[in-house]
Symmetry: C2
Subunit: 136 residues, 2 copies
């Protein structure tokens, strides 16, 4: 069960946390807004308020269970952490999200930071475009 995952993250095992975790694990696509999660809870007939969803997602992020992203700039998106870093491609037309990882870009990025005297901590890299289906 996901009890273990919560405990391992140092979080008490409560119903809202279990439900939210399950939703994130079963999500397809994997990228959900807080509202998406809340709606799915409603669909399942759960009595969980939006405030709790935000609180739980924030705790999950702090615990490293999920990653928070910021597509388009006004709405946070959450995805279950894979443990491996990756960046994103977002389709401007249908919203499809793909993931990518490019060693060369990562290396080069580190290089750029050094050139500017920066100690690199993290980065956001999102490519916006049209996915294959939306180009026709």
């Amino acid at each position: 069960m996901q009890d273990q995952e919560l405990r391992a993250a140092g979080l008490k095992v409560t119903l809202p946390r279990l439900k939210v975790l399950k939703i994130l694990e079963q999500a397809n696509p994997r990228h959900l807004t807080a509202e998406d999660v809340y709606k799915k809870l409603l669909e399942q007939g759960e009595e969980i308020g939006p405030a709790t969803v935000y609180r739980v997602l924030t705790q999950f992020e702090e615990a490293g269970l999920v990653d928070r992203l910021n597509f388009d700039g006004n709405r946070a998106v959450y995805e279950l952490s894979t443990g491996e870093h990756h960046d994103h491609l977002v389709c401007l037309s249908c919203g499809t999200v793909s993931e990518f990882y490019d060693d060369l870009i990562e290396t080069r990025q580190q290089h750029v930071a050094e050139q500017h005297g920066f100690l690199l901590k993290e980065h956001d890299h999102i490519i916006y475009g049209l996915c294959q289906n939306c180009q026709s």
Copy 2:
């Protein structure tokens, strides 16, 4: 005068637009939030409301006069467009913003998009870290 720039952008020359444009041109650092711009207008004793600032900045963005960025995810930041694409380094401690452009990353990015069947339209690439001064 900046009248020309506004006219060239297809915008009527009005006092708020002139004032906002001047503030952006004189800004140092070059990256300002809508609120920053609004405060500077107040300091100058101008009678311009926040709503107008947002409207003007949005129009400037549509006209290509300014670029809108999204540092940290909850606050939009505007900078006068240089005409040349660049990405950003942001100091997590003092907020300093630097700009960078790396041909290799740009090329590679295009490559990544193609591999995923995406037609690349734009991208956000922000490196967060500690600037030289904030590492000591």
